[in-house]
C-alpha cells in the first residue's frame, strides 16, 4: 500500500505484487491530514475487506506523520516516489512534469535513473490551488476548466510571472470583453510558461515526456504543454495518484529486499483517535516548535526539536529514510 499525504489531496493505493493497482483513493486533505488519512484507511478496508498488506510506504509533505500513524515500513520523499511510479508506467521516460496542489516539480531521468530535478521555490503561481481559485472566480467548475480552454479560438495573453499579476491581468481582460474561453486558454498558456521558466530553465526536455499530478486532469494545460514544448505529452493512467503508487512500489521493493514482515498497524488502527499538538520549547533561544502525536493517551512520536531533547533523535534524517536509500531497481 502506498500513501501520499499532500497539501491538497491524500491518496491511497493498494497494488498487488506485479504493480497492478487493486484500488485507489483520492481524497481532499482540507488541512486535516490525520482525518483524511484515517478516513482513507477506513474506506480502503471497506473496499478491499480482509486483504493482506505486505508493506506500506508513505510520501508527500505529510509523509512523516502518515508513517507514524500507520506504522509504515518506508517513508520516501515525493520526487523519488513520483519517479518510481512514472518509470513503471512509461518505461524509458525521460521527463516528468508534475503539478500538484501546492507545488510543482520537473524530474529528468536517463536509463531509469533520476539525473536532475527542480521544485518550485517561493511561489505557488503555477499550481492546482491557483487554478482552483481562478476557476471559482470565473464561475467554471474546475473539472470543466480544460474543455473551456480547448474551445478557445484566440487565446488572450495573460501575465505568467506571478499569480497576483496573472489575476489582475485576467480581471482586466474580462472587463475589456474577452470571452471566458479565451481567458481560460490564455491562463493555461501563462501557467505553462511560468512552469517552464521557473523549473525547466535552460534544461533539455527529452521525450518521452509525461505529465502527472492532480492538474494533469486539465486537458487545457496538457495541450498548452504540447504546444510550448512541440512534443507529445503522455498522461499516465494513474496520473492523479502517482505519488501513492510510487510509494507502494517502493514499499514492495523494500519488502523484496528485506523480506521482513510489515510494521503496518492494520486498517483497524484508523478507528483509534489521534491527537496532534505543537508546543514551543523554551529550553533555549531556538524556541523549536515541537510536534507531538498521541493516540489513546500514549505519545507515538515527537519531532521538530533541534537538540533531540524531545525526540531522542540521534541522526537528523528520519531514521527510516537514512536506512533505505537504495535506488529502485
Amino acid at each position: 500500500m502506498g500513501i501520499d499525504v499532500g497539501s491538497v489531496s491524500t491518496d491511497l493505493v493498494v497494488s498487488n505484487g506485479n504493480g497492478k493497482i487493486l484500488s485507489k483513493l483520492y481524497l481532499r486533505t482540507q488541512g486535516r491530514p490525520v482525518k483524511a488519512l484515517t478516513d482513507g484507511l477506513k474506506l480502503m478496508r471497506r473496499e478491499l475487506g480482509g486483504i493482506d498488506i505486505s508493506g506500506v510506504g508513505t510520501t508527500g509533505s505529510g509523509r512523516q506523520l502518515a508513517g507514524i500513524i500507520t506504522g509504515a515500513d518506508i517513508v520516501k520523499n515525493e520526487i523519488t516516489a513520483h519517479a518510481a511510479a512514472a518509470k513503471r508506467l512509461v518505461p524509458g521516460v525521460r521527463t516528468i512534469l508534475e503539478i500538484g496542489g501546492q507545488d510543482s516539480k520537473i524530474i529528468f531521468l536517463k536509463d531509469g535513473v533520476v539525473t536532475d530535478f527542480a521544485m518550485n521555490t517561493v511561489c505557488a503561481a503555477g499550481t492546482g490551488s491557483f487554478l482552483d481559485r481562478q476557476a471559482e472566480r470565473l464561475g467554471i467548475p474546475i473539472e470543466r476548466f480544460g474543455e473551456y480552454a480547448l474551445r478557445s479560438k484566440n487565446p488572450t495573453r495573460i501575465a505568467g510571472r506571478c499569480a497576483v499579476f496573472a489575476e489582475s491581468d485576467m480581471i482586466h481582460k474580462q472587463q475589456t470583453g474577452h470571452s471566458t474561453e479565451d481567458i481560460v486558454a490564455g491562463l493555461c498558456r501563462a501557467l505553462v510558461r511560468n512552469y517552464l521558466n521557473n523549473l525547466a530553465k535552460c534544461k533539455e526536455i527529452c521525450e518521452p515526456v509525461i505529465f502527472q499530478g492532480g492538474v494533469a486532469a486539465n486537458v487545457g494545460i496538457a495541450a498548452a504543454f504540447e504546444e510550448a514544448l512541440g512534443k507529445r505529452v503522455i498522461i499516465p493512467q494513474y496520473y492523479d495518484v502517482m505519488g501513492a503508487y510510487g510509494a507502494a512500489l517502493i514499499a514492495e521493493h523494500n519488502y523484496e529486499l528485506s523480506g521482513k514482515p510489515t510494521s503496518f498497524y492494520g486498517f483497524e488502527n484508523a478507528y483509534n483517535t489521534f491527537e496532534t499538538k505543537s508546543t514551543e520549547c523554551n529550553g533555549c533561544g531556538n524556541r523549536c516548535e515541537v510536534m507531538e502525536v498521541k493516540s489513546r493517551g500514549r505519545v507515538l512520536a515527537r519531532w521538530g526539536d533541534r537538540c533531540g531533547r524531545w525526540s531522542g533523535k540521534k541522526t537528523t534524517l528520519p531514521a527510516k529514510e537514512a536506512q533505505s536509500r537504495e535506488s529502485l531497481a
Binding site: T80, V114, D116, F117, V122, G285, N286, T315, R325
Partner: protein
C-alpha cells in the same frame, strides 16, 4: 601597551556574515591590542526573529541575522564592532551590502549601543582605513600607532589568507573511503547551523564526507574561478566559482549542493555560472537550495533526500560507480 584612557572597553563581535573568516582575524587584532571582545555566539531563532523585526524587508536574510546578533550584544558590550569591508585585496570586491553594513546596523539598533568599525578597502588603498583607525583608537583607548601597526600586521594579511582558519579537513585526500558531497555557498550560510538547516550535519549523518570552498587553498580557488579568474569580481563569488571548478573534476566528489539565501545578488551571478558549468562533462548531480526566513524544514529536507536518492546507487558502500 600604552593606553589613552583607563576605561576598559569590551567590544561586541556579532557572529554573522563574514564572521566565519574575518571575525577571527579581528579577534586576533583586538587580542594583540589587549582589548576584551565578546561574541554573540551561534545563531538562534530568537536572533533571527529579532533581526527580521529590526531590518527593512529588502535586506537579505544574512544581514537581518547579523542585526539580530548585534542586538543580542546590547548590554554585554560597550560598542559593537562592524567593519566596513569593501575589499580585502586587489581586484576583489565585497558584496555591496557589506560596504553599507555599519550604517544598516547603526540604524537598526537605533543608537542603543554605539557601532564602531574599520573601513577596509584594500583594492583602492590601505590608506582608506586611516580615519576609521583613528576613531577606533579613541573608542578603545589605545594609541593610534599601535592600532595601525596591529592592523597592518594582522588584519591586512589575515583577510586574504591562503588557508582558511576554519577548514574542515586540511588535506583533501583523507578518509578516502567515503564519497564526498561538496557544499557551495557563502561561509555565513553553509557554516551557520540554523540558516543552513544543519545541511552539513545532515549530509554527514547520511554517511557522506563534506568539503567546502574553504577546504581549498585561496590561490587555487582564485586560479580556477572561471570565468572571473584574474578579473575583478566579488570575493565570495570567486571562492564559490573557484571551488566549483576544482570539485567538478574530482572523482571523489559524488555531488554538489549550492546553498543560497533568497535574492542574493552575488549568487545570482555565481549560481548562473555554476548551473551552466554543471551541464558540461564530467556531469555531477547538483542541487541548488534557496532558503529564506521559513523555519519549516520539510521542503528543504524533501529536496535534500531526493538529491541523495539521485546519487549513484551504492555510493555509500565503497562500491561507488564512477560518476
Amino acid at each position: 601597551m600604552s593606553r589613552l584612557h583607563d576605561k576598559d572597553v569590551t567590544v561586541g563581535m556579532p557572529d554573522g556574515l563574514m564572521s566565519f573568516e574575518h571575525r577571527r582575524v579581528w579577534e586576533k587584532f583586538f587580542a594583540a591590542l589587549g582589548v576584551k571582545t565578546v561574541s554573540s555566539g551561534k545563531t538562534t531563532n530568537d536572533i533571527i526573529r529579532y533581526g527580521v523585526s529590526l531590518c527593512s524587508n529588502e535586506t537579505c536574510l544574512p544581514v537581518k541575522v547579523l542585526a539580530g546578533h548585534a542586538a543580542s550584544l546590547c548590554g554585554k558590550a560597550d560598542c559593537i564592532f562592524v567593519p566596513r569591508c569593501m575589499s580585502v585585496c586587489k581586484g576583489e570586491k565585497s558584496c555591496p551590502k557589506l560596504c553599507g553594513l555599519p550604517d544598516v546596523i547603526r540604524l537598526s539598533l537605533k543608537n542603543k549601543v554605539p557601532v564602531t568599525g574599520v573601513t577596509v578597502d584594500l583594492d583602492t588603498s590601505v590608506k582608506e582605513s586611516g580615519k576609521s583607525l583613528s576613531a577606533l583608537s579613541e573608542t578603545i583607548g589605545r594609541e593610534k600607532r599601535s592600532v595601525e601597526s596591529a592592523f597592518l600586521r594582522i588584519v591586512v594579511p589575515g583577510l586574504a589568507a591562503e588557508n582558511s582558519p576554519n577548514a574542515f579537513i586540511p588535506e583533501l585526500n583523507v578518509e578516502k573511503e567515503k564519497p564526498v558531497i561538496a557544499v557551495l555557498g557563502h561561509p555565513y550560510m553553509i557554516f551557520d547551523e540554523l540558516l543552513s538547516m544543519e545541511l552539513i550535519k545532515k549530509l554527514i549523518s547520511a554517511g557522506y564526507r563534506v568539503l567546502t570552498p574553504y577546504d581549498i587553498k585561496r590561490s587555487v580557488r582564485r586560479a580556477n574561478a572561471r570565468p572571473f579568474a584574474g578579473r575583478s569580481f566579488y570575493e565570495t563569488g570567486l571562492d564559490i566559482l573557484g571551488a566549483f571548478n576544482v570539485f567538478r573534476k574530482m572523482d571523489i566528489v559524488a555531488g554538489m549542493v549550492y546553498l543560497t539565501p533568497f535574492a542574493c545578488g552575488v549568487d545570482s551571478i555565481a549560481a548562473e555560472f555554476v548551473e551552466r558549468g554543471i551541464r558540461e562533462e564530467p556531469r555531477k548531480p547538483f542541487l541548488k537550495l534557496t532558503v529564506d526566513e521559513h523555519s519549516g524544514e520539510s521542503g528543504f529536507d524533501t529536496r535534500l533526500e531526493a538529491f541523495l536518492d539521485m546519487l549513484p546507487a551504492g555510493s555509500l558502500n565503497e562500491k561507488r560507480q564512477s560518476v
